[in-house]
């Protein structure tokens, strides 16, 4: 009950703090509160629900990047921010899909300056895709070792047990080789 009340009154400021603390509850709340709006925007502009999901998730990533980079000022509603980002992203995608869709979504004007955020987002996105590709090429078990150690911060001890290495040093050597290969792949692509 108390949870329900808290989520219904939670304002934008709380959401920002939640994001800074990596709260899953906040993410769920954000999703519930704003996804319908984006769904409506996309559906009424030649899109389907999968497009809406993609666009909305991208906009959330942009929002996370912005908040975590530390220079986020709450000078408009989060809803407005998300809406602007989604609108821009969708417009862009429509333009890519077909050159002859004359691209003005007849809706609110652009209330937020989100140019920088979008540029940053694109750059990051390219890097992430590169990393993903490199990891794919790396193959097992290197991929899992790297992910476990560097992304989930598990200890070398856990990893060597999981993969059945006789001691942590062997695991370390294996990890070192994997990392070297990953670097090579990453910078080659």
């Amino acid at each position: 009950m108390s949870k329900e009340i808290r989520s219904s009154v939670s304002d934008d400021r709380e959401v920002v703090f939640g994001i800074l603390n990596d709260s899953k509850h906040t993410l769920n709340q954000l999703y519930k509160a704003h996804f319908p709006m984006v769904l409506q925007l996309i559906l009424s502009n030649n899109g389907n629900e999968d497009d809406a999901k993609d666009i909305f998730q991208e906009s959330v990533i942009v929002l996370y990047n912005r908040i975590k980079s530390g220079n986020f000022e709450l000078n408009s509603k989060l809803k407005t921010f998300i809406y602007s980002v989604c609108r821009r992203l969708w417009l862009k995608r429509l333009n890519q899909k077909s050159r002859n869709i004359s691209g003005e979504l007849t809706d609110l004007e652009n209330l937020e300056s989100i140019e920088q955020d979008l540029a940053y987002h694109e750059e990051k996105d390219a890097q992430f895709r590169q990393m993903e590709k490199a990891l794919m090429l790396l193959g097992e078990p290197c991929k899992t070792i790297i992910e476990d150690y560097y992304m989930q911060n598990r200890s070398m001890q856990d990893i060597s047990e999981k993969f059945g290495y006789t001691n942590a040093d062997n695991a370390k050597t294996q990890k070192y080789k994997c990392l070297q290969r990953l670097k090579k792949l990453f910078f080659q692509i």
């Binding site: 999703y31 519930k32 996804f35 992430f128 990393m131 050597t173 990392l179 670097k183």
Partner: protein, 363 residues
């Protein structure tokens, strides 16, 4: 010199703050001394950060997918979409067909209106030209009568397909009637009050004013003698007593009435409206005022209104006569200017007029 693996694990431990203070101090000294180690530290740090970011990114995506799965997308879709969306998408789909259908409908409507004569003013339901359709029974009766009388006229015995009235323009055989009486005629005869028929030819027609000028070409025709009436050039006054002589049947019939309006059907300025009882066959008859001036020529009446007949104004007759090129006429057409009816009583006027009004028979 330490192996590459050891250096990397040292760097990692350093970056993760897993070194003790002594080890850390030693490593920082090493880093200051050896530029290549420093370089490696920076490089490794950025790469590890990159991977960490990637990890967070993937985590976020996974979390969002979780959140997404909790939502009932179909329900949301139904909620957010406006009710008219279905209709709008239907409209988008069929708007071209709709446009074509609408265009066809418009064309059909106008074509129908045009073909039924909705746009032409002269043919209207409650306006009927007073030309007489002579039916077959009448014709057979007439044949009998004409047989008994042993009629001396040379004209055909049968009374014609249509009948109207005409009256003399001049003593040498010019007759005026309505255009609609002689329209589409094969041949036209005029018959005087004595029952004599003469063949005529059309000299001039003016469909706009509904006027036709005929000339008697029959060899049996002799001069009519001086006309007793004149044509009035100026307009007449409302309420003036008028009468007409015509052939709504096979004998002359006189009707009287008064001028009720200076304009004709639907404000037509070419005609007068006359409150007079006229019937099919009166078309082309002269409309005379009390002094024996011809002020018009009866041409139609309004069917659903009592006492509304129409007569073309006499100055349009004069205009039509003026429009006939005189060179094309075999004998000159001069309009009578001397009125000998003025001052006579109505019955005397009619007696004098009698010989100058003809039944027009159209075959």
């Amino acid at each position: 010199m330490k192996s590459e693996i050891e250096i990397v694990s040292l760097i990692e431990a350093y970056l993760r703050n897993e070194l003790s203070t002594e080890e850390r101090g030693a490593f920082e000294r090493l880093r200051n001394e050896d530029a290549s180690i420093d370089h490696k530290v920076v490089e490794h740090e950025s790469f590890i950060n990159r991977m960490a970011e990637f990890g967070q990114h993937k985590q976020l995506l996974a979390d969002m997918d979780m959140a997404h799965q909790q939502l009932d997308i179909e329900q949301l879709k139904a909620d957010v979409l406006p009710v008219s969306f279905k209709i709008r998408s239907l409209f988008r789909k069929y708007r071209f067909n709709t446009a074509v259908a609408a265009a066809v409908a418009i064309v059909t409507v106008f074509a129908t209106l045009l073909s039924t004569g909705y746009f032409s003013k002269t043919i209207t339901n409650n306006y009927s030209a007073l030309r007489r359709d002579i039916n077959n029974i009448k014709r057979s009766q007439n044949q009998l009568i004409k047989g008994i009388n042993d009629n001396p006229s040379k004209g055909p015995v049968n009374p014609g397909q249509f009948g109207g009235t005409g009256f003399a323009l001049s003593s040498n055989g010019y007759v005026v009637t309505n255009y609609h009486v002689v329209k589409d005629a094969d041949s036209v005869y005029v018959q005087n009050s004595l029952g004599e028929s003469f063949k005529v030819k059309q000299i001039y027609v003016d469909p706009a004013y509904d006027i036709a000028v005929l000339q008697i070409t029959d060899s049996a025709f002799k001069s009519l003698g001086t006309l007793p009436y004149t044509f009035k050039k100026s307009g007449s006054d409302l309420g003036e007593d008028v009468y007409t002589i015509g052939f709504p049947r096979d004998d002359q019939v006189v009707n009287r009435g008064y001028l009720s309006s200076l304009t004709g059907y639907a404000g037509d300025t070419v005609a007068y409206q006359v409150d007079i009882s006229v019937n099919p066959g009166n078309s082309g008859g002269p409309l005379l005022d009390s002094r024996g001036n011809v002020i018009g020529i009866i041409n139609a009446k309004q069917t659903q209104t009592e006492g509304a007949a129409f007569a073309i104004k006499s100055n349009y007759i004069l205009q039509s006569i003026g429009a006939i090129p005189q060179d094309s006429l075999e004998v000159g057409l001069t309009v009578n200017k001397k009125n000998s009816l003025a001052g006579l009583s109505r019955t005397d006027q009619i007696k004098k007029m009698k010989g100058y009004v003809f039944m027009v028979k159209v075959y």
